[in-house]
Structure formats: structure tokens, C-alpha cells
Amino acid sequence: MKHFRSPHSCRSACLPHPDLSRTSRTSFLAAALALALVLALFARVPADSAPEIVDDVAVALQQTADQQAPAPAGETRIQTVVNRWVEGASNAIFGVLFFDVSGGSFRSTVIDRDSRLPVLDESGNPKTATQALPLLIVVLLFGGIFFTIYYRFVNIRGFRHSIDVVRGRFDKAEDEGEVSHFRALTSALSATVGLGNIAGVAIAVSLGGPGAVFWMLVTAFFGMASKFSCCTLGQMYRQVNADGTISGGPMYYLDRGLAERGGFFKPLGKVLAIAAAIMVMGAAVGGGNLFQANQSYAIVEYVFDLKYQHASAIYGVIAALLVGAVIIGGIKRIGAATSRIVPLMAGVYILGCLVVILSHADKVPGALALIVREAFAADALYGGFIGVLVMGVRRAAFSNEAGIGSAAIAHSAARTNEPVREGIVGLLEPFIDTIVICMMTAIVVIVTGVYDIHGAEKAAIMATAHHAPEGAVLTAVAFGQVVSWFPYILAAAVVLFAYSTMISWCYYGERGWIYLFDHWGGIGLRSVILYRLFFVFCVFVGAVANLGPIIDLSDALLLSMAFPNILGMILLAPLVKKKTDDYFARLRAGKMPVVR
């Protein structure tokens, strides 16, 4: 039964909305279809249909993991069990999402990462491997380019206006919504800025080479238009509840937006919305939880030189308890404080990076040149041109969530009656996240040369620090080269980033849960505790598992959201374009009063 959940009232900005809680046959069928779609995506590809799914990250990280920790104690039993499960899940999901659309036409020589020599096969010839061009990467990049062109470079022409909006020059207290534009952006950024900006970039540069950074920036530029699109739609089709709160996000705009187009689009919208709801829960667990817990522990372990074999489990339990305190215990103050200090933490991190960069100032021009040159160099070490491109797009999308749709959940809460205005605010997100913060990490990792640590140098670091220089640890190594206590500042920032990202993402995930289960008699809010418990458990799993499988699983879970979201956003693009043109026309005509 559905009584007494927050009732929904839809005002002028919204469309007449079919009662989501009604368990109609249509919605049940749509749910079944969406579930089938997700399961089909996540099902294992038969071995013969995809014989060579080459995954650079997994292979490379596994290599380092294999060389790591030769201690006889090795993994604890908990770690073995966790790793087996995580690996199984990631292999299954990965198989489909990253299937090679090029049909294996790109190949490059396999180079040993330590000796930098080509790997030879049994007959003594250099071994080659397929460089996959994953479907997901094509969809993400195509989506960004499409929206950039279709909205006539809104990422450039809306940029200045977006800063004015964030400064509060257009804020109107009487508009519907929960928070100001600035606060909505900060809330969204607390989920976006996390380990993807630190560990993710280090991974991109060490495995994809400096050229990957170029493609990260390109992806972020186009991603600004994708983000504009999803935030505008988030506002257009948000649900204003009777108690003044807002429910929004990809589930809502796919469902309500496509229903508005009528006919065949209505059931399609339902299917895409339900798929998005299921996927946002997965994304929250993957990118918003496992990866954060894993890499924040990695850096803490490295900086504080933790050698106790159960240290990761202890860290996992503590982190899980702290996350649980907010999301289950309902300690609002902690949640509020962490979310609010994200801009400050980002400032501290950027400052730290600047100190490192300035101490290597002479190398900066060279690093910038290297980024551009390597982007097209087709270096076999980094998997050739395709390998570098894919790495850049993947890590950029993971970091800034453009095209994924998740951020629309936070942006839909902004107080405005102009959907386009929040979209304009949204386009700042990939800019701040990737073009500013990720770029900082990238330059740090390149000018200090830590991305290229291999052979004897790597062995030396592993011998003294007991850790393979990979992921977040690389940035700590880079920071440590400049000032001895810098890694401690980095560790503090990383832990706070991870924490705020985890609790913010839990909110995204639970919006998916609530949307989904409201179809079964409005039990979303009543049953959301189950999701929260699972989320807290995953914090522990993330801390204990190895990086290789974690990063694959996180990528697959997070990036898969791009499928329903980009498809839906393309179908809804004409509506957004109309609103955008109207908005800019009024802005140019001076019909929008500036408050201050």
C-alpha cells in the first residue's frame, strides 16, 4: 500500500505526472524489461564471442599487485574472499560494457612495464595485443560532441554567465527549490571531486601516459555540454513535493520527459528511467564507494606506513562506521560539515599541487608539450593511440560524471524557475573537476616524473615503502619529493574527499532506490534503510579489496549509466534546445533582472 509517503504535488513548471506509486501493469512490465536490460548488460559475454577483451588497467595493475607484498602471510582470508567476489563481479560486467566496437582492428605491441622491452612470444617475435575501443567510451565521447554542437557550444558561450549565476546575481528567494545555485553546485561537487581527481588521474598518466591527460581535457570540454543537458533536464522534470522538497535526477527526466513525447517514447522512458535507477545504485556503490574506500586506504597505508596485516580491515570498519553514522545514524551535522568543506579541501589540495609544481617550474612547459605530443604519439607502451585515448576518456568521465546523469540529482534541488540556468551552472562542474583539479594532479605527477617509475627505481620504492607506486600512492610520492610532511596533508585531504564523496553518492544511490521502489506501492522511503546498510557494508569491501578489480568494477558500474542517460538526453535534446534558445534570447534582451 502506498499511503503516507511524501505526497507529490506538481506545480506550473512540471507536467501532469502519472502517479509513480501506482503499480500498474505497464510499470511492472517496464520494470521487468529494464531489469532484463541491466542483467543482459551485466551478464557474462560467452568466451567465444569476445575472445580478447584486453583490459590494460586490470592487467597492468595485476602485474604490480603480483609483484607487491611478497610476504608469506600475503593476503588475509577476508581479503582473499573479498577479492574473489569483486573480481568475479567485475569480469562479468566488464565483458559487455567494454566490448570492442572496432572488432579487434587495433593492435599494439605488448611492452613490459618494468624493463620497457617488447614482450616476446614463444617463437621470439614481439607479442601484440588488441587495443579495444569500448562501446561505452564511444557513447560517452559521441554524447559530449553531439551536445556541444547541438547546443551551439553552450560550454563556451554560457561560461561567463555561469559564473554570474553561481555568484548569486540571479538568485530569487521566491522560486521553488531547496538551495541556491552556489550551494547546489557545491553539493554536486562534493560527490564529483574525490579520489577520481587524485588516484584516477595518477592511474591515467601512469597507464595511459601523459597523452591521456590531453584526452581527459578534451572529454571534460565536451562533457560540459553533457552536464549542461542533464542538469537542465533535471530541473525541467523535477518533482516538487508537497513538503517543499525536490525529487529529481535522470530517473525523473527520462520517465517524465519521454512520457511527454508520448506514444512509443512513454514505455521507453519508463524502461530507461528504471534502468537508470538501478544503475545509479550500482554507480554509488562502485565509483562512489568502493573506489573511494580503496584508494583512500591505499594512501593512508602508504603515508603512515601501516604494516599490520589486518590494517585494511580495521580501516574499513572505521570508515564504514563513520559513513554509517551519517547515513544510518542520521547525524546531520557531520554530513553537512563534510559537504560544506569540500571547496576548502579542494583549495588546500590545489595549493599543495601548486607548491609542488612551482618547485619544478622549469619542467612545466616541457610537461605541457609532452601532454600534447604523447596524445598523438601512439606509444606502444601506453597501448598505442587508442589505448591512450580510451584511458583519457574513461578517467575523465569517471571523475566528472559528465554524461552519467548522477549530478542532476543534486542540481535539481537548486532554487530556480529557470531550468536552463541550473544547466549553465552544471557546466562548470567538469571544468572545475577535470580542467582545473585533475589537471593539477596530472602536472604534479608528470613534472615530478613519478608516473614513469619503473625497473630498479620502482623496486627501490617497493623495498622501502612496501607499496607499489600506483594510483593515489603516486601523488603521495610526488608530494613527498618536495616537502617531507606534504603527504600527510595529502592524506588528510584524500580521506575527507573520499568521505564526502561516499556520503554524497549514497544520497544519489538512495534516490534511485526510492524512485524504483515507489513503483511498488510507495515503499521507497520506507525500505531505503536496506540500501543504506548495503552501502555501508561496501565501504568495508572497498577498503579490503585490491585496486585492479575494484577499479574495473567501479568504472563499469558508474559509466554504464551513460547508456540510458545519453540515449534519453538525445531524444529530449530538441526540448532542451528550445528552452536554451529562449533563455539566451531573454538574457541578451536584458529581460532577466540582476539581483545584485
Partner: protein
């Protein structure tokens, strides 16, 4: 009109059309609309909701918004004088407790009457109210 006009009837609503039907049934039990207490129960907000994080939404603001929304829905003159109350927490418990505290004569509640697995999964607010209420409960099935 019912046999004995009631002095106080509690009607929980969720703003669905169906819950308003229960309200119309309840009107038959009282002589004056002011004897009707319409209850709307709001659940707790997520601690990470942007409005909560930035302290711009709290129970007071939600109460004001919800009351306004209910008043707009109940604009018809026949509802003039109805008492509106917004409560927070578990709906079943809150409704039963409210009725007991105010010594209500009757609770009129709508129920979607799910059976089987759906019932198990969802539970039933009406069922909980029937179990905990100190007074008679009239359940309106759809």
C-alpha cells in the same frame, strides 16, 4: 449520515485522490467539518539532501509547505474548518498515537488492499493502525 455523529474523526491522507475519497466518507460521520482531523505523516529526510545539508529545509519549513499544499487541495467549501495536522515518523504509529492522545471517536483510513507477496513486502499502514488504535477504525478499500 451515520447513526451517531462523531465528535472527532481522524482521517490520514497522502494527497492521492483516493485518500480524499476517504475524507468524503468521513464527512458523513460528523455534524461539522471542524470535527475532522486530517493527518499527513512526513517521513524523515535523508541527511544528505542538499536542503538539509545547507540547513535550508527542516521540519518547520516542511510542515508549512505541506499544510499549504493540503489547504490548496481542500479548497472546496465543504471542507471549511477541517483541522490539519502534519506529523513526522512512522505513519502507522503516528496515526494511532495521535488518535489516542486526542481521544478520537473514529479513524477513517484508505487502504489499497494489496494481498499476497505485495502485502508482505509493503506491510500495511492501515493494518498497523487497526492493531494499535484505541478506537474503531473504518478502512476504505479501493
Amino acid at each position: 449520515m451515520a447513526w451517531f455523529p462523531k465528535k472527532m474523526v481522524v482521517v490520514p491522507i497522502d494527497l492521492s485522490d483516493f485518500s480524499l475519497m476517504a475524507l468524503d466518507v468521513a464527512l458523513d460521520f460528523v455534524e461539522d467539518a471542524s470535527h475532522l482531523h486530517v493527518i499527513h505523516v512526513l517521513r524523515e529526510m535523508s541527511p544528505m539532501e542538499p536542503g538539509v545539508v545547507w540547513g535550508e529545509i527542516d521540519d518547520t519549513s516542511r510542515r508549512i509547505h505541506a499544510e499549504e499544499a493540503i489547504r490548496t487541495r481542500l479548497a472546496d467549501p465543504k471542507y471549511n474548518g477541517i483541522v490539519i495536522h502534519i506529523l513526522f515518523g512512522n505513519p502507522g504509529n503516528q496515526i494511532a498515537r495521535y488518535a489516542e492522545q486526542r481521544a478520537a471517536d473514529l479513524i477513517v483510513i484508505h487502504s489499497h488492499g494489496r494481498t499476497g507477496a505485495a502485502h508482505l513486502l509493503i506491510g500495511s499502514v492501515a493494518e498497523r493502525v487497526v492493531r494499535h488504535a484505541h478506537c474503531p477504525v473504518l478502512v476504505i478499500r479501493d
